[in-house]
Every structure is written in C-alpha cells, then in structure tokens.
Assembly symmetry: C2
Homo-oligomer: 382 residues x 2
C-alpha cells in the first residue's frame, strides 16, 4: 500500500453580487484599525477604489493606499509596498483587483513579515513567519490569487516570473463579488476565463490531484462550458456570476493540486515579454494537452467529455479531435491561438524554456518534461 496524504486548504469565502458590502465587517473581525489597500490604476478609473475608500473611512478605519502596481507585478514594486506597509503601521492588507494587485499584496505581506527580498522566497514552502491578515476582492474571474497558495512576481533582473508557493499565502477571506466583472472588457473576461480553464485542466491531471481538488476542477469545467459563450456575447449577469464560480472552483483545485507545463511556460513567457498572463493559455493549452495525453489519457478524456458531453472520446484520436474543437472555440472567442501572433520571432524560446524548466509548476505535471519537450510544445503552438 502506498501512503498518499493530500492537503486541501482554502480561505473563508464570501460569494455573491453585493458581497463587497461585507468588507468592513470582515476587516473588523480580523482586528483592523488601519488597513493597507493594494489596487491599481484601472480600478481607480472604474470607480471601485473610491467606493471601497468611502466604505473604509465611513467605518472609522484609517487607510493607506498603494496602487503602484502594474500588470505582472515587479519585485521592486513589492519592496516599495513593503516599506510603505511597515512605515505606516497598518494591520490588515486588503487587495482589490485581478491577479496583479493580489499577488503584489501577497509579496508585500511576505517581505513585511519576513524581511529580506522577495526573491528569497521563490519556490515552495520557504516562508517562515505568518503574513498580516489579508482580505482579497478579485475583480477578474481567472487568477484565483484570492484563493490560492500561489504568488507570482516578476524578477526584473532575471526577466522571469517567480512562483512562490506556501500555505501561508492563502488569504484569510476572499470576497468574490461578480458585479466587479460588469466593468471589464469582453477580451479581459475571455482571457481570464481561459486562464481559469487552464487552471482546471492542468490541476485535474496534476500528479498531486486529490478527490477534493478534482471535484472543484469538474465544477469549473461544467460551468465554463455552459457560460463562456453567453458571457462573451452578452455579458449577462448570470453568465458573469457563473464565470466567477469557474475562477473560484478552478483556483481551489490548482491551489491544492498544483499546475503543469502550461503555467511553467506562461510564467517564463510572461516574465520575459510582459504579456498579459490570461492570453497565454488559449495559445498553450491545446499543445500542452496533446503533449500530456500519453500520461493522463483517462483524465483528459473526462475533461473532453465534460466540455463536449454529446461526443464520445473512446480513444486518442477522439481526444485529439476534441482538443482541435477547443482550439477552434478559442478562435471563435477572438483570442490568439498561435504563439507567433504575440512574439516577434523564435529567438527567445530556448531561454524561455530554460526558465520554464525551473518553474515549480513543472513538478506536478503528469509527464516529466525536458527543456527540449518545452521547446517542442512552443514550436507546435507557434
């Protein structure tokens, strides 16, 4: 008998339209008197940041804001935020935004509580002291940072995204209000939803998947299938709410089961080229599924059967046709499906694949991939 122990950890979740109204009572429950609010310029423009600011001030809480966060947050931004956090004597971190402000907030929490620089914590389980209490409000339905043990920060000098994984990176509370999605563009909604789909697929076939994580991945796949087209076409509130659920369920899966070569490559490409993370997976996921198929055929067949329930996936050929259908579906959604459409040439690929091979997401991929394998995936997706 093999002893196989799996872990499953998620934050406390508040879910639903209007749930943002519970922010202040959640913060108070964590002992907040002086909150540190991390967000970005886009949320300020959309009016959400001032809404939060008003709620916080109306409750008599002090608030320090940090919005110097770009997409693909940089190490130096994290260090600047950590200094501000420490000098302002804040007590609870609140992050409002997509993956970038949320990951920046985690990075700030790491450095503020543990010292040194953010690069010192790259990899798995290297954080020793607990972070400040954290409440995250995701405004996209893809990154899953509000639920996950992951934090992705760009190392500017090395031109790569560092994956930092630790149980202590799960925030205390995630407040998921689907109304945030209403102010987002269709392309951002679709990109995020495909990121969430990649989370579900990669974590479902991960060697660290557990019955608990698999169940979340299945929910994400069902709801993705039933809502992506309606959300892209009409942005109906029900479809957006269901895509919020997709993002959350997929995050509960990948946070506990890990990811695979698709995310390793996306981190390496994103670190080097500063591309929006969400747009990587419509390009990479089909090639990644084809690459992995020899090592997780039954599970990929279940993925395909969930996405296309009226079709049969008896053998490998059926599966390949299913992956092809998914690729066509991505095209219909108007997102890039070829790597050449986002890269000028193939010159950087060897370096990208070297960096990807060192990403911690490689460890849970069902098929052990070499740098050459990763290059072959990139060439197939070219």
């Amino acid at each position: 008998m093999t002893i196989r122990v799996t872990k499953f950890a998620i934050p406390e979740i508040l879910f639903g339209r209007g749930s943002v109204q519970h922010l202040v009572s959640c913060a108070r429950g964590l002992g907040a008197k002086n909150v540190f609010l991390v967000s970005d310029a886009g949320l300020e423009e959309a009016g959400w940041l001032s809404k939060l600011r008003k709620m916080i001030h109306a409750a008599g809480l002090a608030c320090v804001e940090f919005c110097d966060v770009t997409a693909n947050p940089r190490d130096f931004q994290v260090h600047k935020g950590a200094q501000l956090y420490s000098s302002s004597e804040a007590d609870v971190i609140i992050a409002l935004g997509g993956g970038s402000p949320m990951d920046a907030a985690k990075g700030i929490g790491i450095v503020a509580s543990n010292g040194r620089t953010i690069a010192d914590y790259e990899g798995a389980n290297r954080i020793e002291r607990p972070l400040p209490p954290m409440i995250f409000l995701p405004t996209t339905a893809g990154s899953g940072s509000d639920l996950s043990q992951f934090c992705i920060i760009t190392d500017v000098r090395r031109k790569l995204k560092m994956s930092i994984i630790s149980r202590s990176l799960v925030p205390n509370i995630s407040i998921i209000d689907p109304d945030f999605l209403v102010t987002k563009s269709v392309s951002l909604i679709v990109d995020s939803a495909i990121d969430a789909l990649a989370h579900a697929v990669e974590s479902f076939v991960s060697i660290a998947a557990s019955p608990f994580s698999e169940n979340q991945a299945r929910l994400a796949l069902c709801l993705w299938r039933d809502n992506i087209d309606e959300a892209a076409r009409n942005r109906s509130s029900t479809a957006l709410e269901n895509l919020s659920l997709v993002g959350a369920a997929a995050a509960m899966s990948f946070s506990n089961a890990g990811l695979g070569v698709g995310h390793a490559l996306a981190h390496a490409l994103g670190g080097r080229l500063d591309l929006r993370h969400g747009m990587m997976h419509s390009i990479l996921l089909p090639a990644v599924m084809r690459y992995n198929r020899s090592h997780c055929l039954p599970k990929l067949r279940e993925v395909m059967h969930t996405l296309y329930p009226t079709r049969d996936f008896h053998n490998e050929q059926d599966l390949l046709e299913g992956v092809h259908s998914l690729e066509r579906h991505f095209e219909d959604l108007g997102v890039p499906v070829r790597l050449h459409s986002v890269l000028p040439d193939k010159e950087c690929l060897p370096e990208v694949c070297e960096a990807a091979a060192n990403d911690v997401c490689m460890l849970t991929n069902p098929r052990q991939a070499t740098v050459e394998d990763l290059l072959a995936i990139c060439n197939e997706a070219w």
Copy 2:
C-alpha cells in the same frame, strides 16, 4: 435583483491513509507545547489512543487527557472538561473519535475561552471569543464535526440536544485517516454513512445552499452510491476510504448550507432517548424527503437521479418510487427503517416535536414545518 451572499468556510484538511502521522507537526505548527487530548473509552480499547499518546510524548509535548465522554455528550461532561483544560494550562485541543468526542472538544473549547455554561451558546453565532487552536481526527465517516461549524451537546435537564453553530467552531485542521474505520463494526460504518447521506440530501435542498456547498453534496451522493454496499459487505479499504470522502464532502456541504427537519427531529429524539444519532436517519430520511418534495422537487429529482442514474425521475410519482427504493436499500443494509423499532410507544412524540421545532436546523429546511408537520413525519416513519 436579490442580493444573495453565501459563505463557505472549511478547515485545512489532511486526507489519506496514514495521515495521522502528521499530527505532531500540525500541532507544533499551531504552537503546541501542552496538548489537551479528548477521546473516549472505545478509542482507548481499539488502541488508537495509546498510539496518539506515544506520538505526542515522543515529540516532547506534554499531554492532558480527557476521556469522560459518552455518546451524545452531556453538558456536565463539557463543563468538567473545560475545568480540566483551564487548570492544566493546555494550549491546543486535539480530538480523536466520532461526533461525540469531537463535539465535546468543541464544547470544552467554547466554555474554556468564553466562560459561563455551554447552554448560553445554544443557537447561531453566539460565541464571542475565539476557541483554542483545534486539530480533529475523525474515526467515523459521518458526523463531520471535524469540518463543521456545528456542535451538538445534550442538555440533561431539558432532555434535548442543543445545536450550537458558529464560524469559530471550525477546527484549524482536520486529519482524516480512513484507516481508523478499519477497527469499526459494519453497523457503525453503515449508520455513519447514512448520517452522511442525510447531511448531503438535507443540505443540498437547504434554502442556504450555494454552488460551493451543492458541489460537495453531489460528490458525497456519487461516492455513497458507488461504495456503500461494498463497504457494508467486505469493508474493503478502498470503499472505506471513499466513505471517508463521503463524510467529508457531506460535512463541507451541511456546515455551510445548514440542514433541515430530519436533523431537527434526530436531535430532539436523540436528546430525549439517548439513541445513537447515526441510526436515526435511515428511519427519518425517507419521510423527510416525501415531506419536502413539494418545495424542492427539481433538487430531489437530481438527488434521486444521482443515486439511481439508470432510472428516470420525470415526475413526483417517479420520485416517490425512488424514495421507496432507498428505503428498501436501507433495509437491505440491516438498519432500522421504522421509528417503532427504536421507541417503546408514541407518548413522547409531541414533546419531541415541540423541541425539534426550536432547533436551529429548522431555519434552513426548504418547507416551513409546524409542530403538527413534524408529528406527521414521525407518524409516517412510525
């Protein structure tokens, strides 16, 4: 638009055969130096308690034991345990056992941290101060106390079981080791599994169900269907492991969605008659499903379709036949299906139903039930 915010909270979970080996590192992670170990005589007999004791001592931790816990733990047992906890200056509570030692441990934590008597916390959200850190190791696959916000303690004077519900009753860590089930009798395994089934069904149709809780209930139903007969016949380790998953998934569902009239009645009957809680639901669940059917027909049809996937449940008649099949299934499993087999006469029923009507589980039942309705359910199950 109705604003509907749902909450979902669970502890960190370690799941798998052999996971008990991680107990000490989990306790250390919570700062343990002097643990308070709650269990009962049955676990001592089965040898599990001495195994834990050795692990704790070998790690250099002090340990105070409290095993004066019966089935359906009493208020005075909780008070005695709380006194011992306080006088021994313990820092982390570890509970090993079925629902009784785990609920007793919660009660001890409540009184030790909040003072007064356990009856002062009956109902929802009445606990103000946080409990000591808690690690629970469930040895049956039914109660779900290791994952839930519920604590059920018998009030000896009033002869009823008090339901105490609070976010702060979720332990920090649940270590679910299916190997514990190996030392259990078939009848205890089946009773617990039917309790878990009732958790899944009642929480699935609860008015507070959310997409997250529903997803857990569905997993519980699928795994119950596929494993109950094999577990009852052969106690194979795979079937027992899957029943552990049933108990856990059903608990994640009911802890967050609440229960219904079945559990309200079971608490009232159990408080008065000191019957094993698990054996109540083979008697009550069919009548409860028939009572609720007018108010949650689509969801009950989904329950039935999950339990009997080859059959159609187009209308109410199909549903009633499905409930009948489930009742026959319970009989085949050798558990009681009529109330008269566990009660001497109907004399106590009016008082039982009065008590049940005040149980907090009534609030989330899909159909608002009067005392007369509850009496009718008991008469139908008689």
